[in-house]
């Protein structure tokens, strides 16, 4: 392909710079609010680059994350981590074993089973809110993080199964067959050969599980009642709109950054795998 004309190249840079400004603008705005030493309640002028830097807003939000007494930042963080990691482990273990069967075995109902997971996935979780509320109440799991974990895992399972099955399909069967001849059981070949070889797909699936637990809000907001079980993302919701008359926006910004940063780092790091996983799996994220 020929190199483009200088004028075309200039126009290209101009377009890319303008769109880049559009995409970075909200991020800069949040960072400048969070790092501005005046720790503004509500901004009165637009500052994308703060005049000085301070971590005061972070300190304040860690000291008092919510208006509710007796809820510490570390407790919220602990609840978020527990829910997210629980969702991840649950999703990976159940998803990987089902994906292995769908990938390696031929059995009646295989195609229908795979399709069923997609069809169930299609039904938005929000629509099942009322029945789920009644069900988890009856099981006495509604106000606990365990109930939330199970609900989140069910939401991530279809993606986990499709994503992992797709990757397992590309792992050569010869290795397993050799191991089987050497006296390994199917379970051993799965845990010790197939799963380690599928590390990239497992990583992406794990990330998705973690993220869905880490950033989920509406189910948690509806189900949980005891402030001691609240999560970080619920604390952020408490800082906006009708719930936030007093919280300064600098603290909202600081909390947004703390909530987003781990996700952003992982997403950028694994973007190639995630995009290919999403388009080949054909399920929602």
């Amino acid at each position: 392909m020929k190199r483009p004309h200088p004028v075309a190249l200039g126009a290209t840079h101009l377009t890319l710079i303008l769109v880049s400004i559009f995409s970075v603008f909200p991020v800069l705005w949040v960072f400048s609010m969070a790092l501005d030493p005046s720790s503004v309640a509500r901004p009165t002028e637009l500052n994308l680059i703060p005049k000085a830097l301070s971590l005061e807003a972070f300190r304040q939000v860690i000291a008092h994350p919510t208006d509710i007494d007796g809820v510490s930042f570390w407790q919220l963080l602990g609840n978020s981590l527990l829910t997210s990691l629980g969702t991840t482990v649950f999703g990976i273990v159940l998803g990987a074993s089902a994906a292995y069967a769908f990938s390696r075995c031929r059995f009646p109902g295989r195609r229908q089973g795979l399709m069923l997971f997609i069809v169930l996935q299609m039904f938005p979780a929000v629509c099942a809110m009322a029945p789920l509320y009644v069900l988890l109440s009856a099981l006495h799991l509604r106000t606990s993080l365990i109930g939330l974990m199970i609900a989140y895992s069910a939401g991530t399972l279809p993606f986990a199964i499709w994503n992992l099955k797709g990757y397992f399909d590309t792992v050569p069967k010869d290795l397993e067959e050799a191991a089987l001849i050497d006296g390994c059981t199917r379970g051993q070949t799965f845990w010790q050969i197939v799963l380690p070889l599928s590390a990239p797909a497992v990583a992406v699936t794990a990330l998705f599980g973690f993220m869905s637990g880490w950033t989920e809000i509406i189910l948690a907001w509806t189900m949980l009642e005891d402030p001691r079980t609240f999560t970080l993302s619920m604390a952020l919701y408490g800082m906006v709109g009708q719930y936030a008359t007093l919280k300064p926006w600098s603290q909202f910004a600081a909390m947004s950054i703390m909530l987003s940063l781990p996700v952003v780092v992982f997403m950028l790091f694994l973007q190639r795998y995630i995009v290919s996983g999403l388009t080949s799996g054909g399920v929602k994220g």
């Binding site: 069967a101 295989r110 099942a128 009644v134 069910a154 906006v240 987003s260 995009v275």
Partner: protein, 319 residues
Amino acid sequence: MKRLNSEVRLAYAFIAPAALVMAVITVYPLLFGIWMAFTNYNPTHIRGHLPRFVGLQNFIDILRHAPYLDFDFARVLGFNFLWTFANLIFHVTVGVGLALLLNQPGLKGVKLYRALLILPWAVPTYVTSLVWRNMFDPEAGAINLLLKQLAATFETWHERFAWMPDLGSAWTSLDWLGTMPSAFFAVLTVNIWLGFPFMMMVASGALQAIPSDLYEAADLDGANPLQRFLTVTVPMLRPAMIPAILLGFIWTFNNFNVIYFVTKGDPLGQTQILITQAYKLVDGGLYGVGAAFAVVIFFILLAISTVNSRLTRAVEENA
């Protein structure tokens, strides 16, 4: 035959745990919801009291706009499709456009551009939506503060140059989320911001996979840039873009987070989509009507995905 049986048994054993969780947390609520849709279920029925069977009344109420419901189903459905198509048009044109620009040979700074442009995709949607909601705040939001700075600049220009028009300042204090159609444009902007990077990444991947000898062959045949684009680039992009677009359709159609956390469906429920409306019903304690609404949504999604899979198959057969 013995081996086959043990393999089948092994497969079922491996699938059973996942199937059990899905059965309890997804399938059971689904069936329970279908039953609820035919009753007057509300929060007082959670502890034992049996709800009354009302037949198709909930469905009739939804479709015929009963006085106690504050929405018009046909309007919400229409808005849902408008919302989806408007978003997809921008996501695909902006995403593919940027991918094409970034794919030019000899372009400097591609890595930096790419990193800045995919940033919106990496931030959790929930946080993004809350941040944008604050950005549209009439007094303290970044949008109006930016417009105020622009207005001040125009003011000084107007004072200095006679030919510069006086723009006034009425346009700098718009209540973006409080009126229509600005609330629609605002929430559309948020979702364009969120959605174009994914299409850009998919298109970039597909463009990089096009072998350069195809372009050389087109050049040898004397193709002009437009012909080269239509005969090489477009056909090579299509197989990657079609699944991404269908996926984007479902995502956008059901995009709860952006609508709910940016506008809450307001002003006056005019930016409500089906899924946020269903949530509002449940949140208001109308479990039965909400469940009926969910059943209606399910059939709409089923119809859409049937069309989708027909489309995909048609594309695969023609490609």
